[in-house]
Amino acid sequence: MTENITKKVKSIQFSMLSPNSVKRMSVAKVVTPELYDREGYPVDGGLMDIRMGVIDPGLRCKTCGQRLKECPGHFGYMDLARPILHIKYLDTILRYLRSTCMDCGRILVEGEKVKKHLDNVQKAEQEKRYKVKKNLINAFANSIKLIKKCPHCQAKKKKITIEKPSTILEDGKRLTPIQIKARLEKINDEDIITLGNDPKNSRPEWTVLDILAVPPVTIRPSITLQNGERSEDDLTHKLSDIVRINQRLFENINAGAPEIIIEDLWDLLQYHVTTFFDNSVAQVPVARHRSGQPLKTLHERIKSKEGRFRHNLAGKRVNFSARTVISADPKIKFNEVGVPKIIAMELTIPEKVTEWNIDWLKSLVKKGPKNYPGANYVIRPDGRKKSITEETQEILIEELQPGYIVERHIVNGDISIFNRQPSLHRMSIMCHKILILPGRSFRLNPAVCTPYGADFDGDEMNLHIPQTEEARAEAEILMSVENHIISPKNGLNIIGSIEDAISGLYLLTKKMKFSKGDATELLFNASVIDEKMKNFKKEVTGKEVFSVLLPNDFSFVGNSKNGDDVVIKKGQLIEGVIDKALVGEDNGQLIREIYSKYDEKIGIEFLARIFKLGIETLLRSGFTIGISDSDVPEKINKKNQDLIKKAKQDANNVIKQYELGKLESLPGNSIEETLEIRITEILNKVRNDVSKQVSDSVNEDNPTIIMASSGAKGNLLNVAMMSSCVGQQAIRGKRVQGNYSGRALSLFKKNDPSPEAHGFIEKGYKQGLKPYEYFFGAMTGRDALMDVALRTPKSGYLYRRLSNALQDIRIEYDSTVRDAEKSIIQFKYGEDGIDISRSDGGKINVKKIIKQIKGK
């Protein structure tokens, strides 16, 4: 597999193709537009000449003697009857014509200035400031435009203009490519250097073509259709156009045809050569197939998203991969991925046959590709690949011996790489172990949705199977889920308990009590068996159940979501309730503490266990929400109504003041702006007041409130919106405005500043909304939707540019940050050398470390 590298690329020189080098690299001269003879054999001197490579299986290349797929292809050439301007070098041609004297061919600047310019250019070159160099040369060439007279021969300069696409005029008279070529030939080497080219590699007259390089057949293969007809590549089509016109031009010149006819043909040839290079030049009619579809010529092959770079080189397709819809399974481990059997029977791992596994592999081969677990291929020691079928099965089992390789189906526990696009950070692609499950979707634990950014509304994900031992080891060690719990972006845990798991742990550690049997059963169901369970008394509290999962020597002091102390002493939860602030994603102090004190294995094990325990608790106690959850006592309801009424009155008072002209403007604002600010302030405040009233009044055991206060889902404001008051609707941070008509809906008076005319929703969802209130709700909803739909592609493009610009930058072993040239970007990573994922909120907490060491 591995080949020794015998040569190393030291440098690359880009240059123009000279007529000589075209001839030198060519193996055939193309003279006829015919492609094949009557037998369908490529014609000598045609565009498919087999000296330029072969695309037919069975034929051999006349140049190198190799077959299809072995022969790399060879260039040919054709002589053009008259010179043609290369469309991609038009700017270069113009620059040379404008910068040099039409008479003596010298550059239109005296020696002194040239020398100074060359000095500057050389300096920029030495400093590797290539952009500066380019700008210097451009500025120099532009400054020449103003010069009217040649300083060498005193000839007057004539004005060169261009008539798009490719006609060059001098003082309104057309310059033929022959004349242009003659002028460019006159320019001497020093002047070419002055204008930024290297005369050895790129003479300006090479931009005017007498001879056209014909690309090898292998880069423009023809396709044979089902009916046996051949369909030629777009490039071949274009080339045959060129050959045909070229031939006609030759004939007409030789026959001494009138100049007009020759010029017409010449222009036509110019057109064909132009579209051969680039079929999307402005003001050149696009060359099309007979069907009207534009030809894809050289430029289009390379350019943009579907071009060679972005489509074929930057993005490739791979084998041993699978893609399907994902769905959730909270019962599988974080580092497992459920794989459907149909996929498992398609993806394989090459397993080397040894004397220890030969029996097992034989049994797999016996099962074949159609039964699971089986095998699809056997590779002999000589590298021959044999597919396992009913006929070959018996023989293959017979001959199987150490040294053979069996491509067996993936089985439980095999290493895989799991990925969801867009891959925005390194946690978007992690290593999971295979778990074969029934069904047709990939299954993943809902806790790993966050790093992938996945949900289950139809998302699809990709699975890759590493094929070598090295790749598997690398994936398992570097890409495993347990190594990516802490995010390198902020040092917080990206994986944690979510939703039901948090609710469950909250309820468990708050005030649940169990009998010894129930507690043991609960833990068993969360797949926990531990020494600590021996110490259970007759009655077991939820805190004691939770403590079973904690390591024995673990002590910790933290704060829960509402600021209360949470104390763990020697593996026992003594005080406090477990909630989002301790075990949630991004917030889990407890998880990070265990992760940093022990290792990844214990960290992820703990996380998996509490996750299961939380869900199991909730399963047992039952957890549901209903409309009655947002019931508010009559007394509080009345109070809320009064609050809202008063707020509306306050707002109306402000409006009245404004109308009377008594409103004083806030600093930096006009009176109108002040009015808006004051009203918005009042209306936002009232919703918070109402929300506070609601949260004070409702029962602690109310499931909706449990979810909000444990941090599992939602917040108290959502409860208030349901029960009492939806509040002010805002579009682009302002109250809903009626932009041109002065009102948001036609049922309001024009320029009415009152709360209800600008999107204040007085009632809660439960009481029901008035039609116009509902409409305001829809307006903000649509605004948010549009915002997301417009912002996502914009930020995606921004990110693409950023990641492309930064992709080669890395941290070296001396902790400097360097680019691909090994130039320094930062002298120390992040200017402080701290690995964020191993720090304490981006800093190193020395006191904490000392305390830890002392504590031991």
Binding site: K123, R129, I824, F827, I834
Partner: protein
């Protein structure tokens, strides 16, 4: 306003110092780099106007850092 504004006294402008030939060599050796692999600063940069810099000088910049109290950065003077 007769008094000229001194940008070096501004809180957001870090201290720039010019390194001597030997100091510069030491820095380059420490990072195993040549002068064109190090970040650049323009000769006309206002922050180094008072240091009478010349082409090719190495400038040391020390800035305060919230996580590291002080960080140092080096730049080489280029024309422009």
């Amino acid at each position: 306003m007769t008094k000229e504004f001194d940008i070096k006294k501004h809180s957001l402008v870090p201290t720039h110092t010019k390194l001597t030939e030997e100091e510069a060599k030491k820095v380059l050796d420490e990072f195993n780099i040549t002068k064109d692999e190090i970040p650049k600063i323009l000769l006309s940069d206002a922050a180094i106007k008072d240091l009478t810099p010349e082409y090719g000088d190495v400038i040391k910049i020390s800035r305060p850092s919230p996580t590291n109290t002080k960080t140092t950065f080096y730049r080489v003077v280029v024309n422009g």
